[in-house]
């Protein structure tokens, strides 16, 4: 018995060491295979799930419409997923596996700046184009990489837009307090907002960072309350937005505008906070209200996109869904423009891409970042997310100044 077990163990060992099977998933001939490591477990599960929805929606649409025409040939598309467990190091290994083992043609980005950053490094080394829609930290694009493209506006812009809107309100707000979670993305958001505020005559009365993954922010709230600002912003993720919002109400902190970088746009925000989410604003990459008219080849307006999406997934798409779909669209048009699946040609096509889609303008600067598409500002009104800025696309008027807690 023991001998058998020993033999078995020895065999298992050898297998583990050398037997990692080499799979060959690369599409035979008529399928283009994209690869993506998304967070299906771990702390970013929700966002990873949204990312996957956005990708799958494009894939299903494309295949249902006969596939992707490249030159004379039409291809089906497929996406190979792995779970990165919300960990950058795992995402890196998985990207290598997608390329080396699964022989995918192109990479779609993971969710989050941390994971996108490590995967971008892999894409660069392997010279495989990656388009991502969920990593907004500029550090990803400041490495001189040539193969990574982000369809979304950079982190610094997330809350700038909110301030831009705020200074045009009457009475004009004078002071700003902005806290941030201590992670790369959020600190860039904070930095962008603080710089903009200083340039435009807003006094920054509080700017500080709290530990990443904090479980209690009540003392940060107390400090903000003591500073008595007109505008309160927080740069962080969904959890942070919820914690800060609860804290503001608990300590009865009033302001003319309260906004978060990430959070209000996710349906979970309203679901979790109920009526306390009312009147909160958030910087968003996209909303259903945007009035872009895209070029043919996919749903051309946000409305059409959102309705079709709702039909398939039974919920309205938020901007995470949209920007993920947009990443696929960048590939679609670039591949068609290149007329080839050659990675270099597709990369060059991406670099010179300039198209309008339901998501907005997709065009990359020389770092690969889409600095051309503007952010929008959303506000939660009567439990619904409405777009309040910029005025030309807004489908509701900003409530300003927001009512005191308990009067919403």
């Amino acid at each position: 018995m023991i001998r058998t077990i020993r033999l078995f163990l020895a065999a298992a060992l050898v297998f583990a060491a050398f037997g990692v099977p080499v799979t060959q998933a690369r599409a035979a001939g008529d399928t283009i295979v994209f690869g993506s490591a998304v967070s299906l477990t771990g702390s970013l599960t929700k966002e990873g799930h949204l990312t996957q929805e956005g990708y799958d929606f494009w894939k299903d649409y494309t295949n249902a419409h006969g596939g992707l025409k490249v030159g004379a040939k039409t291809y089906k598309v497929d996406i190979k997923y792995y779970d990165d467990e919300s960990k950058p190091n795992t995402a890196q290994t998985l990207a290598e596996r997608l390329i080396d083992q699964d022989k995918v043609d192109f990479l779609l980005g993971p969710y989050g700046s941390g994971t996108a950053f490590t995967v971008a490094g892999v894409a660069e080394r392997k010279k495989i184009p990656m388009v991502e829609g969920n990593g907004a930290a500029e550090k990803i694009f400041n490495q001189g990489y040539k193969y990574t493209f982000g369809v979304l506006s950079p982190a610094k812009k997330y809350l700038q837009r909110v301030l831009e809107m705020a200074v045009n309100q009457k009475p004009r707000p004078q002071t700003l307090a902005i806290s941030a979670s201590s992670d790369a993305f959020s600190l860039e958001v904070q930095d962008g907002a603080v710089t903009w505020a200083q340039q435009h005559g807003l006094k920054v009365v509080y700017a500080n960072k709290y530990p990443d993954g904090a479980t209690d922010v009540s003392s940060v709230i107390s400090a903000i309350k003591a500073a008595n600002p007109d505008i309160i912003l927080n740069a962080g993720h969904l959890q942070d937005a919820i914690l800060v919002n609860k804290g503001l109400k608990e300590q009865n902190v009033q302001a003319k505008i309260i906004g978060y970088s990430v959070g209000p746009d996710t349906p979970d925000f309203v679901g979790t906070l109920g009526k306390d989410s009312e009147d909160i604003v958030g910087g968003a990459q996209w909303s259903e209200a945007v009035g872009y008219r895209g070029i043919p080849g996919f749903y051309r307006t946000a409305k059409e996109y959102a309705d079709a999406f709702d039909k398939q997934f039974h919920h309205r798409p938020d901007y995470h869904d949209a920007e993920s779909t947009a990443a696929c669209l960048a590939f679609q048009y670039a591949i068609q423009k290149a007329g080839s699946l050659d990675r270099e040609k597709v990369r060059d096509a991406l670099a010179s891409l300039s198209i309008t889609t339901f998501f907005g303008l997709i065009k990359f600067d020389n770092r690969g970042l889409n600095v051309y598409k503007p952010m929008v500002v959303n506000q939660i009104q009567n439990g619904k997310l409405v777009t309040v800025f910029p005025a030309e696309i807004a489908n509701a008027k900003l409530r300003y100044p927001i009512p005191v807690w308990g009067k919403r």
Binding site: K46, H49, Y210, S222
Partner: protein, 297 residues
């Protein structure tokens, strides 16, 4: 001055819940020498049970506390009798790794059951507050603290007065002797672990009032509970309470400090956990068994 008072209150309120989180962890650790890495997962389960009762039946989270406690108590008892007891006398790291794996199983299962969506509970008193001497006190957190203290008090009395409680304490001091006087160790261990799980669930239930729910929500609390239970003194009810309050107050006051040394800006808010951990290290070095620990703990 007002900010100082406010931060004191903030610290006490956040420390109270940390104390409850640490309490169950500390019992299991101190009595059975199990570093229960599934504690965070139990907390998460307690929170989800509470959320489920609230969203399905509209039950108030405070009323859900006993239900979450009982459910996890039974679950914890089953896990200890069915799984952990088989290797409970192995070197401490075996159970350490076992509970790590259990937490993986529980968290992944929760992901399938409740999905990764962020959830929350809203009550009539969510965010309600009152002001006393210029200090704003949120009712929900005060209620949380009161319930946490009540549970701590009941547990203390139960451990010292009841027959089973005494058996648990006796077992923690000397397993062999306890066995000789007729204590059924397997059962006592089951009850102890069940208590730990139940207390984690109670903490999770209370946390729904102030904290969003995800399947991984327990992780940061597990780590804080780990630190807090040693800060106060392992395996003691008073220790968890003192440890939680010290941790809460230190990290709360830390936010008031901001210094720049040689061009390096050090934000007390960013370093609040570091300062709490420095306090932990100093306490351990000066009093190697925690603030209220016994020499034999």
């Amino acid at each position: 001055m007002q900010l100082v008072l406010q931060n004191l209150v903030n610290g006490i309120l956040s420390g109270g819940i940390l104390a409850l989180v640490a309490l169950g962890f500390s019992l299991v650790y101190g009595i059975m020498n199990i570093i229960n890495l599934a504690h965070g997962a139990f907390l998460m389960l307690g929170a989800y049970i509470t959320w489920q009762l609230w969203s399905t039946f509209g039950l108030d989270p405070i009323l859900a506390v006993p239900i979450a406690f009982v459910v996890l108590f039974a679950f914890g008892y089953g896990i200890q009798r069915g799984v952990i007891n088989r290797v409970v006398r192995a070197p401490v790291l075996a159970t350490f790794l076992l509970t790590f794996a259990l937490s993986l199983l529980i968290e992944t299962t929760a992901l399938f059951v409740w999905t990764g969506d962020t959830r929350g509970v809203q009550t009539a008193y969510t965010g309600a507050n009152f002001t006393l001497l210029g200090v704003t006190v949120p009712w929900a957190k005060l209620l949380t603290l009161v319930v946490a203290l009540a549970i701590t008090g009941i547990l203390y009395l139960w451990l010292h007065r009841s027959r089973l409680g005494r058996a648990i304490r006796a077992t923690s001091m000397d397993v062999g002797a306890a066995q000789m006087v007729g204590v059924r160790v397997a059962h006592v261990y089951g009850i102890t672990y069940a208590l730990g799980a139940g207390l984690a669930a109670a903490a999770g239930a209370l946390l729904t009032l102030s904290y969003p729910l995800t399947p991984t929500m327990g992780d940061p609390f597990l780590i804080k509970g780990f630190v807090v239970c040693v800060l106060g003194g392992l395996g003691s009810v008073e220790g968890a309470l003192v440890g939680g309050l010290v941790y809460g107050i230190v990290s709360s006051f830390a936010t008031q400090f901001d210094v720049t040394i040689a061009g390096q800006h050090l934000s007390g808010t960013g370093l609040q956990d570091v300062l709490a951990l420095v306090v932990l290290l100093v306490v351990l070095i000066v009093r190697p068994t925690g603030l209220v620990g016994r020499a034999t703990a």
